[in-house]
Subunit: 373 residues, 2 copies
């Protein structure tokens, strides 16, 4: 029996991502493929740059989308900026901070780790103290919105501390972009990466990045070759650059970029502040429903991500059974715990197109049913 076409079920995606994708984005995705050097496509790439500058709130020239998932965006930031001689302070309060450390180690650079509590924001005082004792530090790296725990860190303050110690900042905004306040230029972030499949509600597979002029100069002037050819931004930038002739580097994921463009047009039309406010408002509805169900948040209220709600799995409840029931009975996906929270937490995403009243209502009703099974 030969293998047949795959027809996926219609799920509602309220896990840690991919998030629910708008039908508008899916429709853009399926538009006819053009060449990756087609003049119309190059015009669209320029628009993506402008739209990403808006989403990141930056004037950085060096703003584009890496042709691979967020973890490749993370790696792109580290391999392009770091050399083995550098010392990097990494704040770890979840899985993605730990992944940053892996990246630094694979470059052979020195890493100083600030251990933070899982489910809490990064402690600015700990950063201040560490930097005082680490005058050789050149970079500070932290996760703005920890997808593994649902904790939001104060990126503005952390960047200020780093700057006071002459450090450049590398910030993971995979889950924060478009979901909570994020101001790359105002806060002085030097390198930032995100993902297409979280609060932008686009399909997974691309990673928006932006580099400050200072970070871009560091990349341009570096003496040693970047260890990754595919992620070498000095080559990638020649393809994305608006100036003169585009040089071929790799074949861009043409259709995925249609989808990213559409999701960013939708963000522009809604307005960034409105998007932040919508995530917050839907989170408040969800939180109120959780209280009725007796579900408790892991993260204290003031450090909580509206778009990723991590809750303790109640005593006596079978994690896998509940998630399977939600999937089978309601076509609803919520997220399992990750890393240290595996088996003890659920992660309920309200990202992008999923941050709507109908999704909150469905999620609360379905959870109520599942918990009573």
């Amino acid at each position: 029996m030969p293998i047949q076409s795959f027809i996926p079920p219609q799920r509602t995606l309220m896990g840690p991502g991919p998030s629910d994708v708008s039908p508008r984005v899916l429709s853009a995705l399926a538009r006819p493929t053009v060449g990756h050097l087609d003049p119309t496509f190059i015009g669209m790439m320029d628009e993506i740059k402008s739209l990403l500058q808006y989403a990141f709130q930056t004037q950085n020239t060096y703003t584009l989308a890496i042709s691979a998932p967020g973890s490749a965006g993370m790696e792109a930031c580290f391999v392009n900026l770091l050399t083995p001689e550098d010392t990097v302070v990494v704040c770890r309060n979840g899985v993605f901070g730990a992944r940053m450390i892996e990246n630094v180690q694979r470059i052979g650079a020195k890493v100083v780790v600030i251990e933070g509590e899982w489910g809490r924001a990064v402690d600015p005082q700990a950063l201040e103290d560490t930097l005082k004792q680490t005058p050789q530090a050149k970079f500070v790296a932290f996760v703005h919105a920890e997808t593994s725990t649902g904790a939001l860190s104060d990126a503005k303050t952390l960047c200020e501390i780093a700057r006071n110690h002459q450090c450049l900042t590398i910030v993971d905004a995979v889950t924060s972009l478009a979901g909570v306040e994020l101001k790359v230029d105002d806060w002085g972030i030097d390198a930032i990466y995100s993902g297409s499949q979280k609060c932008l509600s686009c399909v997974p597979g691309m990673s928006p990045v932006s580099f400050s002029d200072q970070a871009a100069a560091l990349i341009k002037n570096r003496k040693s070759t970047v260890q990754s050819w595919f992620l070498d931004q000095s080559l990638v930038m020649d393809y994305w650059s608006g100036q003169g002739k585009r040089s071929y580097h790799h074949t861009a994921p043409v259709n995925s970029l249609y989808a990213l463009h559409e999701s960013l047009v939708m963000l522009q039309n809604e307005g960034l502040e409105n998007s932040w406010a919508r995530h917050r408002a839907q989170h408040n509805k969800l939180a109120s429903g959780f209280a009725d169900l007796g579900l408790e948040f892991i993260v204290p209220a003031q450090e909580r991500l509206p778009q990723l709600n991590a809750v303790h799995i109640p005593q006596g409840i079978d994690d896998a059974k509940v998630r399977q029931y939600l999937l089978n009975e309601y076509n609803l996906e919520i997220g399992a715990g990750l890393g240290g929270f595996s088996g003890t937490a659920w992660r309920i995403g309200l990202m992008g197109y999923a941050a709507r009243s109908e999704n909150v209502a469905l999620c609360l009703a379905a959870l109520k049913d599942a918990l009573n099974q």
Copy 2:
């Protein structure tokens, strides 16, 4: 004026890729996104593995799609197999052989280059001679189908020579997969990578790869860490593996994989040998039309790729003007020359869905018109 949705023109893609994408594949691409750990999605990934095994003609367990373009597939093969202590013989007869060398150098491994003529197949005798003088060589790397020149190399013979000298082989099959005969197991290829956007006629952005048991063992047992976290196959394999629980590594490009699945189902339904024969038959029609137009092939007949036809731009003809006329008047994209062939060659692709009589007829008629402008 805010940025509007992007509506691409309907092109016919007959360049070096992306190739024309079948409406069936575009339709699969736009199906509703499911979670990357959804049981239905994991079942589909298993089917992709089987379908890729068929396309590559291999039983290799270690067969999957890298979540990034072909150049990331290339890098994945090199960074996972090589260590700085290794010596690699690379055959360079075009842009992509040169890119292999870049990859080896960025790992810090030793590279011995066999220089080949642009537009010609790799010379097996040169490989034999070089390996005799390079007993320390551990790998031989070459491009099966050079997309920059249209030359097809004799992968079977090259692999046999490499094996006789106890070398593992790393083969670029970006443009060859599904377009010409390719038998990974019969020919004893150890590591191979391809692209989604060539003869599979899928959207760009993914890179099918396969590793022999010997190559897989080398990866599994390597002592030093792979320099790329994103491309570390020991981690990626835990996500794609059929055995037991899937471990999260990165978020797979869910919708792009729907499209890859569909393109592979279409290949399975057509039959691999039929696909090879169709590319050959359409190439013969195109070649006959080229003769009528006075267009001359760069590559000698017996070394010619049916799916990528490189021709000399006739004396007195303006390269850019012709390509622009074809694009504007016929919505037809053909490829410019790349690297050493820039400005002197056109590359006309007959890949996958583009290898059809209607495309050949359009291309010949449009070229005739353009050359007479």
